[in-house]
């Protein structure tokens, strides 16, 4: 049974990746599961300088989902390289560094700096966080700007460049094309969907940032549809994500067009979720006599 996939030059032993921001810097989970078994670990979004993030409240549960407005708190690229990466290098898995900047230049610099470090196997460019300010949001919602910022990062790195798309757009296909035109080797679909919740007793928003990003099973049908649209629009491999909780959910994304899947919110519900999802994928392949997971990608019968 072949589970290995090639995500725009990033070779994974299996298609299960942990999603950025939901698995810390990876090492926090070594007591809960065997990290060597995961296809790749995507670390929390990194920026040039450490970022403090938003004030509390930062998360709120909603029906079958959760809102978060962490505000991209992170220890910064340097600290990551110095403190976390040496730990991660001990594991036989691939490391995807998720990163962002506040300007095109910052994106390029971050990409360059991460590429220089040993033990990072691919970059995932976050242009799609829903709890940043309006100006920043344009990176992930205005195709022309998307192409520009991706092109800048593209020039700054030789590593496989994955661009993470925002679902908060009229046409994910247009955004996907723009990212590919800018030089993306692969696409992550989707980041969280903008949402909010209000405490009716105090009339205050549940999140200090007012709006946040919705993740979890609630968004799965939306994410799946966006993977399907993206698959029809571009040729590069897609990492599907959004509400994947079980092996069956992962298979749904692969059938819709994903070459790999990322597990996000499910890690909170069960720290070993990614291993169970991998097991579920294998069970499905055995049951359906699928020898190579790659043959299932985009295998929807319409």
């Amino acid at each position: 049974m072949n589970l290995s996939v090639n995500i725009g030059g990033l070779k994974l032993k299996n298609p299960v990746i942990t999603a950025s921001g939901t698995f810390g810097y990876g090492v926090e989970y070594e007591e809960f599961l065997d990290l060597n078994q995961i296809g790749a670990i995507t670390v929390k979004g990194l920026s040039q300088h450490p970022a403090k993030g938003n004030l509390p409240g930062r998360i709120w549960e909603t029906p079958c989902g959760m809102l978060n407005a962490i505000g991209l708190q992170n220890i910064g690229i340097d600290a990551f390289i110095k403190e976390k990466l040496p730990e991660l290098r001990k594991y036989d898995t691939k490391i995807i560094a998720n990163f962002f900047g506040d300007t095109i230049e910052e994106y390029a610099e971050a990409a360059a700096r991460l590429s220089a470090a040993e033990g990072i196997h691919a970059l995932e460019m976050n242009i799609s966080c829903p709890n940043k300010q309006a100006g920043w949001i344009a990176f992930g919602t205005d195709p022309a700007l998307t192409e520009k910022v991706v092109a800048a990062a593209r020039k700054a790195t030789e590593l496989p460049l994955i661009v993470k798309l925002s679902p908060n757009v009229t046409s994910i296909a247009d955004m996907a094309k723009a990212a590919v035109d800018g030089g993306a080797d692969a696409l992550s679909v989707i980041n969280t969907i903008t949402g909010m919740a209000i405490d009716i007793e105090t009339r205050r928003p549940r999140l200090s940032n007012i709006v946040g990003g919705l993740s979890g099973p609630a968004i799965r049908p939306i994410a799946l549809q966006m993977v399907f649209q993206t698959f029809k629009a571009v040729k590069v491999p897609i990492i599907g994500m959004g509400g994947i909780m079980t092996g069956g959910d992962a298979i749904e994304f692969i059938i819709a067009g994903a070459s790999a899947v990322a597990v996000g919110t499910a890690n909170f519900v069960n720290p070993a979720a990614s291993i169970e999802i991998l097991k579920g994928i294998k069970d499905y392949m055995a049951r359906h006599q699928i020898d190579d997971i790659n043959t299932l990608t985009g295998g929807i019968i319409c």
């Binding site: 709120w60 549960e61 079958c64």
Partner: protein, 261 residues
């Protein structure tokens, strides 16, 4: 030793119309626990439905050590049924298998020999300090409840109770009892006093304002997703920046917290 395990419900006892005591026995040996630590529970065994989605955090009210009947011991939680997750837990029959993560967080710090400890609890906050009450036998316990019905039994000969409606103990705030006790204590004792408290947010704010002549440690509650420090969701503002309640807490020094709003 594992912090991710399944456990089966051994008893699920209704205490009043909201409070219930849940005892579960882990199916594997679990790590050592400290008073003030907590566990995250999935509200039910049905893996397929996802509302409620996230695990729910509950303080360990007591741990009964392994014996022949329960080779991995018994974890006891005291829970107030306030919302959807807790109301599902309340109704689960004996034998239901739960998914659990824990023990999590850092418990109450140890008490030095030259320190005097006082324990304060408000409402369901008693859950978090029951372990202390057992460990530090005979230490004064100040316990505030809404009314007699909400009071959880706890063996302590040195207990002082206050209730909102006066149906048991003093009518009014338990903090008044605590304050009175400290000032009496201060007539004969000038050393360090430590207070370990667990109760609602309002109680902590009141304690902060009272500027008690003691080192006060409180167990905080915030919404949580991961419980292990990775989601960065349970942040609390402290004088030294943001800290994570699940990992850096849930016990904090009262004066380190920025009590906004």
């Amino acid at each position: 030793m594992n912090r991710l395990f399944t456990a089966d419900i051994v008893t699920n006892e209704q205490l009043d119309n909201r409070y219930f005591a849940l005892q579960v026995t882990p199916n594997v040996a679990i790590c050592e626990t400290l008073a003030g630590q907590f566990f995250m529970l999935k509200s039910g065994e049905f893996g397929e439905y996802t509302d409620p989605l996230l695990l729910r955090p509950f303080s360990l009210a007591s741990f009964i050590h392994p014996d022949d009947t329960y080779p991995n011991g018994l974890l006891m939680f005291l829970i107030d049924a306030v919302g959807k997750g807790t109301n599902i837990l309340k109704r689960l029959p004996v034998g239901t298998r739960l998914n659990i993560i824990g023990p999590l967080g850092r418990g109450f710090p140890p008490v030095a020999d030259d320190e005097r400890l006082l324990i304060a609890a408000g409402g369901i906050g008693i859950a978090s300090v029951l372990g202390l009450n057992k460990m530090y036998h005979g230490v004064p316990l100040f316990y505030g409840v809404r009314s007699r019905g909400q009071m959880i039994e706890c063996t302590n000969s040195n207990i002082q109770v206050a209730s909102d409606d006066g149906s048991i103990g003093d009518k009014g705030s338990v903090l008044a009892l605590l304050e009175r006790h400290i000032s009496q204590l201060r007539q004969s004792y000038s050393g360090k006093i430590k207070i370990y408290a667990c109760g609602p947010h309002g109680m902590y704010k009141a304690m902060f304002k009272m500027n008690l002549d003691a080192d006060v440690y409180v167990a905080l509650e915030t919404p949580m997703a991961c419980g292990v420090g990775t989601c960065l969701g349970c942040a609390v503002e402290t004088t030294s920046g943001l800290q994570m309640v699940c990992k850096d807490g849930p016990v904090f020094n009262l004066k380190d917290i920025i009590w906004g709003g």
